[in-house]
Subunit: 431 residues, 2 copies
């Protein structure tokens, strides 16, 4: 039972029918004649196909990819951010967040007089570690405050920056919001503090907002860095450099089969944008990926025949995740030795676990991290796969696992029950 | 009129219906119930969907991507190479050849005691230049013999290697076959010579065979490096390191909307394969891209209802390219100042052009390469877009352009006529 990766549809959430239909018609335009497709899916597909060259999705379609889609994304961002302008020229699409993160890190890397440093949260999903190693830049870790629902504290940023400056030149500050693996959603106040800090210290902000659609904690809305930055006035909005990214593979549309995401640049020199874009472009999404993004940016409107089912399916996914998150908190808070912060969004949780001294010793004897040892034992015993916390980074002497709460409720219940029973036995066996 | 990029479907070749149908059904499995889809498209889609997890193409489907597809690719390669074994563990898929080339170049790069050198043909398509710059490795150019139909001559390889060794450590030899931009298909004898040379000089062979499906010169069959290597016996096949790659976006299936390719490793250390695979993986094709590859690897068989139309559509594309290539040769050989080698495959030609001294001077005054000047003038005058030879590399003092002969015959005729008329005027104006 896989709980270690965020595989929305692979784990049993249902895809959005409208997206499937429009993608199918675009893949095989003969379906425009088919009675089995609803009229407004055909209308949407028709309007997309009219913007494509030659024989539809098979062509390069550079103008669709480079002009039409960025325009639609910009409009979407403007709606999301209450009217704050977004310029299509500052938008570029990518095939996967991993490629995007690697491209950006590759471009900030220098060696002289010291290596570039990049501030990343601890914990963070492993893509960051790999990207930093490949780009040959130095990881400057800052700790999220687990005792305080994984809040980002500017004092800790300041400490990390100072320490980093002793051995590299920190230039970039990465924030993952909503958090992966931690599932927190940073408050508006926190984001303002971070922006002020970035302005003072001349750091480029890299806001990883790929999970922005998955927020469900009451009173914990998602605030985009772009919006907050512009609402703080020109003192900040005219000079803080920001790269923010989001994805259609990690929202309520989890179309890994189509896969697409995009970046918005703010206050980045056009020459630098060109370079970044050039390194990202080979990792452009497919034309069908762009089409999925097209649908997300311009979904059915009230009055369209597909409006209700689209909204219902979207809500169904988000509510099912919210419910699952509550279920998980509820069960974990009954388990001695498992501590789970409240989940406000994302599809992940990162509970802390007690691992008895005796188990730590045995893990060391077997050449494993103690949390890896825990996850192996759990897998052998129950068939449940978790991701060990050490792959994400964690405060010394603490142990965690990342688990996704995507599986359907009934299955998730069984999984949580297995973990609960296992932890009880595990604590007994090694205490 | 675009003739500068190899955009198969964007330029009007017709896609393969079976691929479109299966992709559409996989994108929206409800279509399995639709009367408008032929039975064997449904059967193929059904068999693919059975191997997918959760809700079809939306999931990560790692086992389909990492196990099923490599197995199918290995079988396809075995068939292609007359039974020479192919191990699925040596196969990894990628989203685009650009990402693949960049990954491989990134992994051979070192700095000590000197930078890594990579032998590349001149001319070569610009992806190589970018990949080498980004990987910080040194380009070691070897010249293809234009006077001899762009043949690859081992004497020239030896000269280039020797020269390269003065300032870098050449480790990799890239061959593009069929050629891009040159459209030649290397002979079996040439490939044997290259393999012997690579063995003597301990060079890793990087065989860019993405255009292997597009070969139509009588007596000029495509020979894969893998096949020739193994037919040369264990003295070579047990030790020459080979990475070969091909693509479904550049064959008779030009599905850029689905986009997928793959690598086969031969004699590469498993640890190195792991590293390469790790850097390529984020650029995995989408699930639909893998499905298109699935169809290419296991197309309809004789007796299947779609067999005839599949084969007909495949042949139609290849024959239309062969015809276009002939038409192009025919027209260009009537034009004073344009010299076009015979085209044996690919979708490109790279004719040499005379540019009068006066035009060269004016180009220099305007800060342009002379062939860029030629292409600009042509564009202004006729609306035809060509790619200037200087982006591909060319022998000093010679000028070329790359043109794709993908457009439908009638349109291509108009384009070629425009180029012919323009060149006449151009020569008159500047002589």
């Amino acid at each position: 039972m896989k709980c270690h990766i965020g595989d929305l549809y692979g784990m049993g959430q249902k895809p959005i029918t409208f997206v499937q239909q429009v993608a199918a018609i675009c893949a095989y335009p003969e379906l425009l004649q088919s009675a089995s497709m609803p009229e407004d899916s055909k209308r949407k597909a028709q309007s997309i196909l009219q913007g494509l060259e030659g024989f539809g999705i098979g062509g390069y379609n550079l103008s669709y990819i480079s002009y039409s889609i960025p325009e639609k994304v910009a409009k979407f961002i403007e709606r999301r951010d209450g009217g704050i302008p977004s310029n299509p020229r500052n938008i570029v699409t990518y095939h996967g967040a991993t490629l995007c993160i690697r491209s950006v890190m590759g471009l900030v890397a220098t060696n002289e007089p010291l290596k570039t440093g990049v501030l990343v949260p601890v914990p963070h999903y492993p893509v960051y570690t790999n990207a930093l190693v490949l780009a040959d830049v130095v990881k400057v870790p800052y700790q999220l405050d687990e005792g305080n629902d994984w809040v980002l504290d500017v004092q800790e940023l300041r400490r990390a920056l100072q320490e980093g400056r002793e051995h590299c030149i920190p230039k970039v500050l990465c924030i993952i919001n909503p958090g992966n693996p931690t599932g927190q959603v940073q408050s508006r106040k926190c984001i303002e503090d971070v922006i002020r800090f970035a302005a003072e210290e001349s750091l480029l902000l890299f806001a990883d907002e790929v999970l922005q659609d998955l927020v469900f904690g009451a009173g914990h809305d998602f605030h985009s860095f772009k919006k907050v930055l512009f609402e703080m006035g020109p003192k900040y909005s005219s000079r803080v450099q920001l790269i923010s990214c989001f994805s259609i593979s990690q929202g309520f549309i989890g179309e890994y089969g189509l896969s697409a995401g995009c970046i918005e640049y703010v206050n980045i020199d056009p020459l630098v944008m060109d370079c970044t874009t050039n390194t990202i472009t080979p990792g452009h999404p497919t034309v069908l990926g762009h089409i999925a993004m097209d649908i997300l940016m311009a979904p059915p409107l009230p009055g369209d025949p597909s409006y209700h089912s689209f909204m219902e399916e979207k809500q169904r996914t988000i509510e099912s995740l919210a419910e699952n998150a509550r279920l998980m908190e509820e069960i974990f808070c009954q388990v001695p030795g498992i501590y789970c912060s409240p989940i406000r969004g994302s599809m992940y949780a990162f509970p802390r676990i007690d691992i008895p001294e005796k188990a730590v010793k045995q893990a060391q004897e077997e050449g494993m991290e103690p949390d890896v040892f825990f996850c192996y034992k759990l897998l052998e015993e129950t068939g449940v796969i978790l991701a060990a916390g050490s792959a994400f980074g964690q405060a010394e002497g603490t142990y965690h696992f990342r688990l996704t709460f995507l599986p359907p409720k009934k299955k998730l219940k069984t999984i949580l029950q297995s973990i609960k029973d296992f932890q009880k036995k595990f604590l007994e066996e090694y205490s």
